[in-house]
Structures are given as structure tokens and as C-alpha cells.
């Protein structure tokens, strides 16, 4: 007999699944009922994930055996600090995006509500599962829903970008399957913990094949995480998607990062025999190239949505490069960075839609072109006089949006005083810690990449912000309902909370990273000691 609290581990998957099923049954017509169901599910998810976050902050892991099968036969869900943190991030972002969508987006097309719920189910499942093939199934559930979400609202741009997105992700899924089956063929198990226990004992002649299989699997994850050169699909798709869908999509790319982090550290940690740290250089190099490409993409972005998409690339690259360094303290900082960047980029995607609403399409393109070629900047307005004397008053809505945009810019660029800066500092400081010998050359490259990409982001965001808030004609006031602004404020407030509580948060992520780097507790928790094996 197990206590009811043990079932909490599976609740983040069951709740959105039931809510999704209920919204399918309720049909498309009853908007109030649908909104109520969705809201209840997302609020419940936030509460559940907060509970899980608290219970996970302990040594050891909690497992949930589906159908109570013994671990070697059945599928397990595993809750540790990392998965609890990811579930919490997904739930908070899901809540914010859902509230945002209630203002208008949920009416923009059919089946928004079921897709949204199944999306959350897939996300939470991917974070919680402890089985490689089950990870594939949840990946597919998440992706299938995201195809619908990316197309939500329809229109030529979305369908064109969505087509590329779907084809690329189907290809990634096929690679995932090839990787999984090679791993099964060699190791004879799909349970991640069991796999980690067996990796060291793989015969030398099979080892190359296993590593090849895992590399193929890694490519599938890295396509999701948009590592250069696998990430060219990302900015276009994210920019074309509707605001709430884009906010959710921004955590989808973090699922790729999560999978790399989890499986790479589990299988190629110090206990892996001759395979230890396999591919570390590739991860760091790929991450650094992604940062470089992302920084250029940020600078070259001609509108806010593409800017947000490009900053997803920068944050993916930063995370991959930091993870590839292979130090627990660095990974801890990277996890703090991950939490902050998910929230900030989610807020930015929501904000972009509010800012762009009152503007002419193409105004950004003109502004950037003008800047580059220096033409037509100082055209006379026709009626100077009164306007010049008083100046153009900035409406309250624009001012509020502007402050939020500023906060997003500080967070994403990693400037003090907000959490982006603290997280980047937490990534870099262990690399240059006194007493650890001379810093590696790669550490200098990473430091330079982090700082330069921050600079590129600042330049691009200042340019976009000036154009959006100061240079836009004040004639047409934007209409922003409070329902739409609240989620942005919530996400930014959480970032501020992450800044104020950076100490405890960093302790948490460092503990999570240490558990990942030394997975003995994970293995013991999942596989059990021989005495309590069933």
C-alpha cells in the first residue's frame, strides 16, 4: 500500500490529460466552460508543481512505478530536483500563457484548449519519465500538440513556417528512434538508470556502436535545442507562432537541453569507464557556435518577434556550452540561468505581441534599414510648433509595457541587477575560482562568448525598444487588457523573486547539478538495493 502523496509524482501528467480530454468532450462552442477547465487545470498544475518542488529538495529521488511493475520490466517516473524544477517552470509558463490567451487568442482557431493541455501533459511527462522510450512517446505527444499550437491562428506565414517545423521534427523523431533502438540492441535495457549502471560493463567491441547510437540520439535532442547548425528552423517558427504558443514553444527548446543534460551526465559521467565525458568538446564547441550565431541573429533581427526567437538561440547555446564544461558548479549556474531565461523569454514573447499590436507592419524593417543606410531619418513632420514645445506624452500603457520590456532586456542580456546577470556570474565564477589551477583556455572563450552575446542582445534590444516605445507615433493608443498584462507581470515578478532569492535558488540548482554529476543516488533510488528489490 502506498501513501496518497506518492501519487503526486504522476499528477502533473494526469491533470492536464484529464483536462484535455474534458475539453475535447465539451466541444468548441462552450467558451466559458473551456476557459474554466483550462484555468482550473493550469492553476492546479502550478500548485502541484510547487509541492513537488518542495518535496524534491532532498537527497535521493522519488520514483513512481507505473502499474507497480518491478523497475526492470515496467516504466518508472522519477522525480528529482532537476525534473521538479522543469515541471515547475513548465507549469508557471503554462499558466501565464493560458491566462494571456484568454483575452483573445483562444478564440483564434479550433481546438486551442485540448492542444494546450496535451502540450503541458507532454512537457511534464518528458521531464518526469525515467525510461528512454517513454521519453520518445512524451516527446511525440508534446510535439504533436506543438504542431497544432504553432499553426494556431492559421495564416500563410504560420503554415509555411509550421510545415518546415513539422518536417524537421519528424526527421528528428526518426533519429530518436534509431538511437533508442541501437541503445536497446547493445545494452538490452531502456531504463535510464539501468542503462547507466550497465554502460561501464559494455564490451569494448560494442562500445563504439553504443556511442554512435547515443550520438544519434543526441542529435535528435540537439535539433530540439536548436544547436548550430541544427537550429535554423527556430527563429522563423517562433516568430510566426501566436504569442501564447510562442511562449510555450520557448520551453520546448529547453526540453532538448534537459534531455541532453539528463542522459549525457547519467551515461557519460565518471562511472562510465572509457566512455566518460564522451562528446564534451562537441557540446561546448556547438554551444559556443550557437551563441555566436544567435548573437549575430539577434543583431540582424528586423522585428521584435524574430529578436525573441534569436535570443532563444543565445540561451540554448549558453546552456549547452556551460553543460559541456562538465563541472557541477558550472552546471548549477547554468540551471539557474535556464530558469531565469525560460521565464524572461516567455515574458518577452507575450510582450512582443502587445507592443506590436498598435504598430504598422514593416515599421521595424524600415527603421533598421534607415539606420543602416542613413536615409530619410530627419524628414520634417509638417506641423512642428506645439508638438515640439511640449513633447509627445507617453501613454500609461506604453510606459508600463516599456518598463516590462526594459526588465526583459536586462534579464535576457544578463545585466545587473536582475537574475540574468547573477546566473551568468554563477556560470563563470567556478571556472575562474582561485585554487582550481589556471583556468582552461575554453573558460576564457566561454566568458568572452557570454559577455559579447550579452552586448549584442543589449544593442539589439535598445534599438528595438527605442523604436517601439519612443519613436512610434503616439496617435494610436494601444489597447491592452489587464488579463494580457498580468501574465507578463507575473513572469517578470518571478524573475525578480529569483534575483532576490538567488542564494537559495543557486543552492537548489547546485544541489541538482551535483546529483546529476554523481548519479549514485539516482541509480540507488531507481534500481533499489538488492534487499528491497522486488
Amino acid at each position: 500500500m502506498i501513501a496518497w502523496t506518492d501519487h503526486l509524482v504522476i499528477a502533473p501528467i494526469v491533470v492536464p490529460m484529464l483536462a484535455g480530454a474534458a475539453t475535447v468532450i465539451a466541444g468548441n462552442g462552450r467558451r466559458r466552460l473551456l476557459a474554466g477547465l483550462g484555468l482550473a487545470s493550469t492553476v492546479l498544475l502550478v500548485l502541484l508543481s510547487a509541492m513537488l518542488l518542495v518535496t524534491a529538495d532532498a537527497p535521493g529521488v522519488r520514483i513512481y512505478r507505473l502499474g507497480d511493475w518491478p523497475v526492470s520490466f515496467g516504466i518508472v517516473l522519477v522525480l528529482d530536483r532537476l525534473s521538479a524544477m522543469m515541471v515547475a517552470l513548465a507549469s508557471v509558463l503554462g499558466f501565464a500563457a493560458f491566462v494571456f490567451s484568454l483575452a483573445r487568442w483562444h478564440r483564434a482557431g479550433a481546438h486551442f484548449h485540448p492542444l494546450f493541455q496535451f502540450q503541458l501533459m507532454g512537457l511534464n511527462g518528458a521531464f518526469l519519465t525515467g525510461d528512454l522510450f517513454n521519453l520518445f512517446v512524451f516527446f511525440e505527444a508534446m510535439l504533436a500538440a506543438s504542431y497544432g499550437m504553432a499553426l494556431h491562428g492559421s495564416g500563410t506565414a504560420r503554415v509555411r513556417a509550421g510545415l518546415h517545423y513539422i518536417v524537421i521534427n519528424l526527421l528528428a523523431s526518426l533519429l530518436f528512434l534509431i538511437g533508442v533502438s541501437v541503445v536497446y540492441g547493445i545494452a538490452g535495457t531502456l531504463n535510464m538508470a539501468d542503462l547507466a549502471a550497465r554502460v561501464a560493463d559494455i564490451a569494448a567491441e560494442d562500445r563504439a556502436l553504443l556511442e554512435a547510437g547515443l550520438a544519434v540520439l543526441g542529435i535528435a535532442f540537439l535539433i530540439k535545442a536548436a544547436m548550430w547548425p541544427l537550429g535554423f528552423w527556430l527563429p522563423g517558427t517562433y516568430a510566426a507562432a501566436s504569442a501564447p504558443a510562442a511562449a510555450i514553444l520557448s520551453i520546448l527548446s529547453k526540453v532538448g537541453i534537459y534531455a541532453v543534460l539528463r542522459i549525457w551526465l547519467l551515461l557519460f559521467g565518471d562511472g562510465a569507464g572509457s566512455s566518460a565525458a564522451f562528446g564534451a568538446t562537441a557540446l561546448t564547441a556547438g554551444g559556443l557556435l550557437t551563441v555566436a550565431f544567435g548573437a549575430v541573429a539577434v543583431l540582424a533581427s528586423q522585428n521584435l518577434a524574430r529578436l525573441a526567437g534569436a535570443s532563444v538561440l543565445v540561451s540554448s547555446g549558453t546552456l549547452l556550452a556551460a553543460i559541456g564544461m562538465g563541472q557541477a558548479a558550472v552546471t548549477g549556474g547554468a540551471l539557474l540561468y535556464l530558469a531565469g531565461s525560460v521565464l524572461a523569454i516567455g515574458a518577452l514573447f507575450l510582450l512582443v505581441e502587445l507592443v506590436e499590436r498598435g504598430r504598422d507592419i514593416g515599421a521595424d524593417v524600415l527603421a533598421v534599414t534607415r539606420e543602416a543606410f542613413g536615409t530619410g531619418e530627419h524628414e520634417e513632420d509638417g506641423e512642428p510648433g506645439e508638438r515640439d514645445a511640449i513633447g509627445v506624452p507617453i501613454p500609461a500603457t506604453v510606459a508600463t509595457l516599456g518598463v516590462s520590456f526594459l526588465a526583459c532586456a536586462l534579464l535576457i542580456a544578463g545585466l545587473p541587477p536582475l537574475s540574468g546577470f547573477l546566473a551568468k556570474f554563477a556560470i563563470l565564477s567556478p571556472l575562474f575560482a582561485p585554487g582550481g589551477g589556471a583556468p582552461r583556455p575554453l573558460a576564457w572563450v566561454l566568458a568572452a562568448a557570454l559577455i559579447l552575446s550579452g552586448l549584442a542582445t543589449v544593442v539589439a534590444m535598445v534599438r528595438a525598444g527605442m523604436d517601439a516605445f519612443w519613436a512610434s507615433p503616439a496617435g494610436r493608443p494601444q489597447r491592452v487588457s489587464i488579463v494580457e498584462f498580468l501574465p507578463v507581470a507575473l513572469l517578470l515578478a518571478l524573475c525578480v523573486a529569483l534575483t532576490v532569492g538567488a542564494g537559495p535558488a543557486l543552492d537548489y540548482t547546485t544541489a541538482a547539478a551535483e546529483a546529476l554529476h554523481v548519479p549514485a543516488n539516482y541509480l540507488r533510488g531507481v534500481l533499489g538495493t538488492p534487499e528491497d528489490g522486488r
Binding site: 499553426l151 500563410t156 509555411r160 510545415l163 513539422i166 519528424l170 533502438s181 536497446y184
Partner: protein, 114 residues
């Protein structure tokens, strides 16, 4: 038998990759379908190729690897087939929508300029 199966996987995967690189959406879809057949056969073959061997124990039988085939790849391939089928159907719908909205079946939504 190994040779026949590996040749089949190779031919399917090769044609799939070639079609995937073509500019028309329909070719891309068929390419993905062929690739998924190749991958499904590949998954199936990771359990070892046997003729006439059961995957499920009868009542009272004790399984030995010599007499039985591995059931896990068969379960995996079944899941992969179902998921691949569903996502391909979804892709077809998007393909039709793209054709209707852009007026062309080029993957980029516009014809190459000559």
C-alpha cells in the same frame, strides 16, 4: 535473411533521404514515410531476426533466448508505427493547407525564380 533485411532498410532509407531533399511537399511527405518504414524495420531487427519464434510465453513455459524472440522491439515498433502514422497524417493536412494558402506545392511556399 540479414542481408535481405539490411538491403531493404538501406534502399528505403536511401530513397527516403533523396525524396526528403526534393523541393515539393508531396515528395517530402513520401520521403518521410519511406524513412519511417526503414526505421521501423531497423527497430524490429534490433531484437534479432528469427523465423517462427514466439514472442510470448505460453502457460507454464520457461523462456529461453534460444527458443523465443525478444518481445520488446516488437512493442516498440508498434508504438513507433502508430505515432509515425498519426504525425504523417497531420503533415498531410498541413501540406494541403500550405498548398491552399500559398498556391504552390514548393516547400518554401513560393517557386524558385528563374
Amino acid at each position: 535473411m540479414e542481408l535481405v533485411v539490411s538491403l531493404a532498410i538501406g534502399v528505403l532509407a536511401g530513397s527516403g533521404v533523396w525524396l526528403l531533399l526534393r523541393p515539393r511537399t508531396f515528395q517530402v511527405t513520401i520521403g518521410l514515410a519511406l524513412l519511417s518504414y526503414a526505421v521501423n524495420l531497423f527497430i524490429f531487427s534490433t531484437g534479432g531476426l528469427r523465423i517462427g519464434a514466439d514472442a510470448i510465453l505460453g502457460r507454464g513455459e520457461v523462456g529461453t533466448l534460444a527458443a523465443f524472440t525478444d518481445p520488446v522491439p516488437q512493442a516498440l515498433v508498434l508504438t513507433a508505427i502508430v505515432i509515425g502514422f498519426a504525425t504523417t497524417a497531420l503533415l498531410l493536412v498541413v501540406l494541403l493547407a500550405a498548398r491552399g494558402l500559398t498556391g504552390t506545392d514548393h516547400v518554401d511556399g513560393r517557386e524558385r525564380e528563374r
